[in-house]
Structures are given as structure tokens and as C-alpha cells.
């Protein structure tokens, strides 16, 4: 099969001596850096660390569910394990995943700037992230927390005896980290674009991250105050959510989901941005309906704020409110459908190659479509009654978050790996990993849809024996999935030293980031570019190449 990759002659090619990695040496030069690319690397390393902690917890969950009895762990331990799995994966992996690594690395370069608007705040956000993450781990080691990641009152305020306040504080701190990241992105995209870089010349990755950043900035503080009130209720006993004092526990749910529903868009939107870039590059074609895809990101962000109460359909909100929130939920499903079809038609009359990032992107499209469509099952208030709080919902959000977001993340990591490190990953091995991940994923989570249909409740340490067959399938799949996730870590580290030299533009992509050396210089551009070409302008790229050839020739 032919490929799109164009590498320099390996006998003579070298990774440029001058780049952001070699600029300075020593640990302090990393820990005190203001360089968005170095901060992205810091994030990448720490995110991977937290991902594998969350993954280990997931493995424990799946092992426990291998048998109907709670025999591997007591239900108490199991509760702590799934709570920490949720908290680590959501607050310390999914929310920051693409924005904090790829976004940090690429957004300034994509808009043609030397750095994000506020480098120090960017660094601060990493420190906050680490502080939050380590605090959460500390809470886990010193007794854990068993409220579920949703901190539902009055369970979290009065009925558990675990480290709720510490974990809440960890989530609070991590929240500020994500606020600062979002704030930085918005200002950078508004204010730091290179001459000629108009809004409609921005790569879709920027649009998607911009939309996610808006959600981060406007949503996160609401969950912050909700957590503060929970902490105050636990420590000094104020009575805002306490039903015995006249408070309404549902109010906590309102405040919590006001952030936590948009949070799923914070998690998925940047992934959609990655997929737009990857599909365009490997189809060698402009994204079909660029502005529709761009605006659908914004639409998801805006509508995302109107739908939170669909998490509470059976929790005692008024039926009329359920009606309204259900209708609005249907509306937010449409932009996602638009994106899927636009990506599909980007392939039409393209010139498609199937490198690893593209395989992951295909995986994303398939799994996200399933995840999105099953989301409609839960957004329709009637079917929600049967399916909510069961394994159906677990399967649904894992299809979106793991099948969607993690696929997109891996796609993006592979796609920009040559840019970040100057070296290629091993292609065949990584294609294998992509396929293994896809198969393992479906094995793990598809049975959970059936379990949910049958009514198996989530967060159960033990379950009726008739559900065992499907649970065994799921656990077996999880072990395949584990291999799929471990492989990239190994070969990506290997490639740091032994990978082929990538050159500036191995994929022959059009983004500004591909027109500079890899790895980039600390200041990104020797001279701020003046953007004349259109976005995803492959003809312009061809002309550039011809121009270079005639120049050299």
C-alpha cells in the first residue's frame, strides 16, 4: 500500500541540533520553563503517569467483576477503587489530555505565535495540575474516598467517613489548572494570531480547542463552588445541601452537572479537532465544509451549557424541566452528527493513505458514532428511565471518552510525534497497536451495552450470576485493551533514540507547524510568518515544494 510519508534521506539526515529540547539542559530548565512546548512535554509525561494509575484501577475493577461475588475486594475497597478510577481519569487525564499536551504544543504554532499569551500562567497550570494530582493520590493512599467521582450529597457530606475534603480540594485545584489553560488558549487565539491568519484560516484543531476552552473558563468555577460548599458542609456543617436542615440535595446536582456535563465536551471537542487535522492530512484534502465543522464545535460548546439536567431525569426534577432539557439534548446531538458526516465526506475523492494516526481516527469515528448515538438513548427522557444508572451508561461514556477521546489522543500523539521529537515512531508496530486497541476496546465495552439493557446497575461490587458471561467477555477484552495501550508507550520511548529522522514535514501536511523544523526552535518561528495561503491548502503546499525544487535546482 502506498504511503504519504516523505522522510529525508536517512543516511545524511540529522535531527536539528538547535531546538527547544536542546536549548537548555538540566531539570530546573524544565521545571521553570516558560516554553509552551516544554510545558506540553511535562504534561504529557505526567498525564501518562496518571493514565496508567487510572488504568491499573480499571484493571482491578474488571478483575473484581470477573466473578459475581465480591471476592477479590470487599465492596468497600471496590467503591474506593472505582471512585479513584473516575477521579483520576476525568480530572487528571481526560480533561487536560489533548488541550494540555497537544493544544499547548500546537496552538501557538498553528496561529503563528512564539508562545501562548501567558507562559507563566501556563507553567502555573501544570504545577496546579501536579499539586491536585498528587493530593488526589495522597488521599487515595491515606484511606481513599468512596463517594463516586460525582461527590453526590448527602452521601458525600454526611454518610461517608473517607477523604472527601482532600479529594474535593484536589479536584478544585485541578479545576483551576484547567481554567488557566483555557484562559490562555482563548487569549492566544484571539490576540496572538500571525498577520494574515484570519479566523477562517485557523486549523479546525484551534476551533475545537477554543470551544473547549470557553467551556473550561465558564463551567469549571461552578463545580468549584459546589465542591467548596460540600467541603464546608462536611467540616463546619453549613446547611446548603442538607435535607435535614431544609437544603435541597438536588441543587448540588444542578451545580455539579452544570460543569460536569459541559466537561464531557471539554474532553471530546479537542479530540474532534485532532481528527479533523488527521483526516484532512491523510486524505490530502480540505475538510469537507470547513465552516460547518468549525461552527459545530462552537454550537456544541454553547448548547453544552443548556442540557445538564438530563443527568437528573429520574432524580426528582420536575417533569416539565425534563421535557425542556431532553429537547435541548436532542439539539446538541446534531452538531456531532454534522461532524461525523463531514469527516466522512472529506474522504470522498481524496487520496487516502492509512498511517497509524489515520487508523486511530477511523477508530474514533466508529466508536464515537456508537457513543454518540447511545447518548441519544440516554437523552430521550423515556428510555433514560430504563437505561440510566446501569452499565449502558458506563458503556456509553466509555465509548465516547475512551473510544472517542483516547483514540483521538493517540491519533494526535502519533501524528505530531515527529514534530515533537523529530523522529518517527515504528509504523508497522503502531498500526498493530491501533488495531489491537480497537478490537480490545469493543470486546471490553460492547458487552456492557447488553448488560445495561438487561438492567445491571453500575458501581456494583457483586452482581447476580446471570450477568457473568458478559462480564467475563468484558474483562477479557480489557486485557487486550491493556496491551493496546502499553505498546505505544514502549515503542514511542524506543523511537526517541532509534526512530527514523522525520524531517520538517513527514506527512506533507499544510499546517503552520509543519512548515518549521522538527523539533521546533524555542521561539517557534525565526520570523513571524505572514499567512497568505488558505487552511488545508494542499495546492499551495505543492507549489511551495515546486518552488523549493526550482530554487535548489
Amino acid at each position: 500500500m502506498s504511503t504519504n510519508v516523505l522522510l529525508p534521506d536517512q543516511t545524511t539526515a540529522r535531527v536539528p541540533k538547535q531546538n527547544y529540547i536542546t536549548k537548555e539542559n538540566g531539570l530546573m530548565s524544565w521545571l521553570l520553563t516558560g516554553d509552551h512546548k516544554r510545558i506540553a512535554i511535562l504534561y504529557l509525561i505526567s498525564l501518562t503517569f496518571f493514565f496508567f494509575i487510572g488504568g491499573a484501577l480499571a484493571a482491578l475493577i474488571r478483575l473484581e467483576l470477573l466473578t459475581p461475588q465480591s471476592d477479590l475486594m470487599a465492596s468497600d475497597t471496590y467503591n474506593k477503587v472505582f471512585t479513584m478510577h473516575g477521579i483520576v481519569m476525568i480530572f487528571f487525564f481526560l480533561v487536560p489530555s489533548v488541550p494540555a499536551t497537544l493544544g499547548n504544543f500546537l496552538i501557538p504554532i498553528m496561529v503563528g505565535a512564539r508562545d501562548l499569551a501567558f507562559p507563566k500562567i501556563n507553567l502555573l497550570s501544570w504545577y496546579l495540575y501536579m499539586a491536585g494530582g498528587l493530593l488526589a493520590l495522597y488521599a487515595m493512599i491515606t484511606g481513599g474516598v468512596d463517594t463516586g467521582w460525582t461527590f453526590t450529597t448527602p452521601l458525600s457530606t454526611h454518610y461517608v467517613n473517607t477523604n472527601v475534603v482532600t479529594t474535593g480540594l484536589a479536584a478544585f485545584i485541578a479545576g483551576f489548572s484547567s481554567i488557566f489553560t483555557g484562559l490562555n488558549f482563548i487569549v492566544t487565539i484571539h490576540r496572538m494570531r500571525a498577520p494574515g491568519m484570519t479566523w477562517f484560516k485557523l486549523p479546525l484543531f484551534c476551533w475545537a480547542n477554543y470551544a473547549a476552552a470557553v467551556l473550561m473558563v465558564l463551567g469549571t468555577p461552578v463545580v468549584a463552588i459546589a465542591i467548596v460548599l460540600v467541603a464546608l458542609e462536611r467540616t463546619i456543617g453549613i446547611g446548603v445541601f442538607d435535607p435535614t436542615k431544609g437544603g435541597d440535595p438536588l441543587l448540588f446536582q444542578h451545580l455539579f452537572w452544570f460543569y460536569s456535563h459541559p466537561a464531557v465536551y471539554i474532553m471530546i471537542l479537542p479530540g474532534m479537532g485532532v481528527v479533523s487535522e488527521v483526516i484532512s492530512t491523510f486524505a490530502r484534502k480540505r475538510v469537507f465544509g470547513y465552516s460547518a465543522v468549525a461552527f459545530s464545535s462552537v454550537a456544541i460548546a454553547v448548547f453544552g451549557f443548556f442540557v445538564w439536567a438530563h443527568h437528573m431525569f429520574i432524580m426528582g426534577i420536575s417533569n416539565y424541566a425534563a421535557l425542556v432539557f431532553s429537547l435541548l439534548t436532542m439539539l446538541v446531538a446534531v452538531p456531532s452528527a454534522i461532524k461525523i458526516f463531514n469527516w466522512t465526506f472529506t474522504l470522498y475523492k481524496g487520496s487516502i493513505t492509512f498511517e497509524t494516526p489515520m487508523l486511530y481516527a477511523f477508530g474514533f469515528m466508529g466508536l464515537f458514532t456508537i457513543g454518540g448515538l447511545t447518548g441519544v438513548f440516554l437523552g430521550v427522557s423515556g428510555t433514560d428511565i430504563h437505561l440510566t444508572e446501569t452499565y449502558f451508561i458506563v458503556a456509553h461514556f466509555h465509548f465516547v471518552m475512551v473510544g472517542g477521546m483516547l483514540m483521538a489522543f493517540l491519533s494526535g500523539i502519533h501524528f505530531w510525534w515527529p514534530k515533537m521529537t523529530g523522529r518517527m515512531y515504528p509504523e508497522k508496530l503502531s498500526q498493530l497497536a491501533a488495531v489491537v486497541t480497537f478490537i480490545g476496546f469493543n470486546f471490553t465495552f460492547f458487552p456492557q451495552f447488553l448488560l445495561g439493557m438487561l438492567g445491571m446497575p453500575r458501581r456494583y461490587a457483586s452482581y447476580p450470576p446471570e450477568f457473568q458471561v458478559l462480564n467475563v467477555f468484558s474483562t477479557a477484552g480489557a486485557s487486550i485493551l491493556g496491551v493496546g495501550y502499553l505498546l505505544p508507550v514502549l515503542y514511542l520511548i524506543w523511537s526517541l533514540k532509534y526512530g527514523q529522522v522525520a524531517g520538517d514535514n513527514p506527512w506533507q501536511a499544510t499546517g503552520l507547524e509543519w512548515q518549521i523544523q522538527s523539533p521546533p526552535l524555542t521561539e517557534n518561528f525565526t520570523e513571524i510568518p505572514v499567512v497568505t495561503q488558505d487552511v488545508y491548502d494542499y495546492e499551495w503546499l505543492e507549489r511551495q515544494k515546486e518552488h523549493e525544487v526550482t530554487h535548489v535546482g
Binding site: 461552578v222 441543587l251 444542578h254 451549557f305 426528582g316 420536575s318 417533569n319 416539565y320
Partner: protein
Amino acid sequence: MSETHATHEAHEEHIVSPKVYALIFLALLVGTAITVGASYIDMGPWNPVIALAIAVTKATLVVLYFMHVKYSSKLMKLTVLSGVFTFLILVGMSLSDYISRAWGQW
């Protein structure tokens, strides 16, 4: 080129004179006095409405003059408005549940 020119104008340091500040300060003082005064008059359901209307007016004055939004770019104005908008979504959509709970047996 006109675009460039427009942005340059936005960057022109607009220094608000102390006179304007003093005027706004006075208005805020008067506003406070009216709020307190109005709270002693029985206007039924209009009391909180009046109090909030005055508070909104005072806040708007602070935002426009003390915080220079009146002299800032369109982007800043939109930013402030989007913040207020999201705030209203939070309050309004939450209250929609609480208000409609009282309608029926649900």
C-alpha cells in the same frame, strides 16, 4: 488598512478623567442611598425588583467607567456580555426546574 487603523484606535490609551470617576462615585453613593431608602417603603413584590435594578445599574456603571469597558474594544464588551449570559443560563435554567416543580404533583 482600515482594519489596522481601527485596532490602533482601540489601543489608544483612553485615560478617563478624575472628573468622570468622581461623578460615577457620586452616582454610586446616591444609588446606595436609594437602595436603602427604597427598602423601607413597602412596594410588595417590587421591592426586590427595585433593589436588583439599582444594583444592576450600579454594577453597570462600575463596569463601564471604573473598569473602562466603555472605552474598550468590542471583544471586551462581548466578553463581559457572554459572562453575564452564562450566569443567567445557570440561574435561569436551574430555577426553571424549581419553579415548575411547584406546578404539578411532580
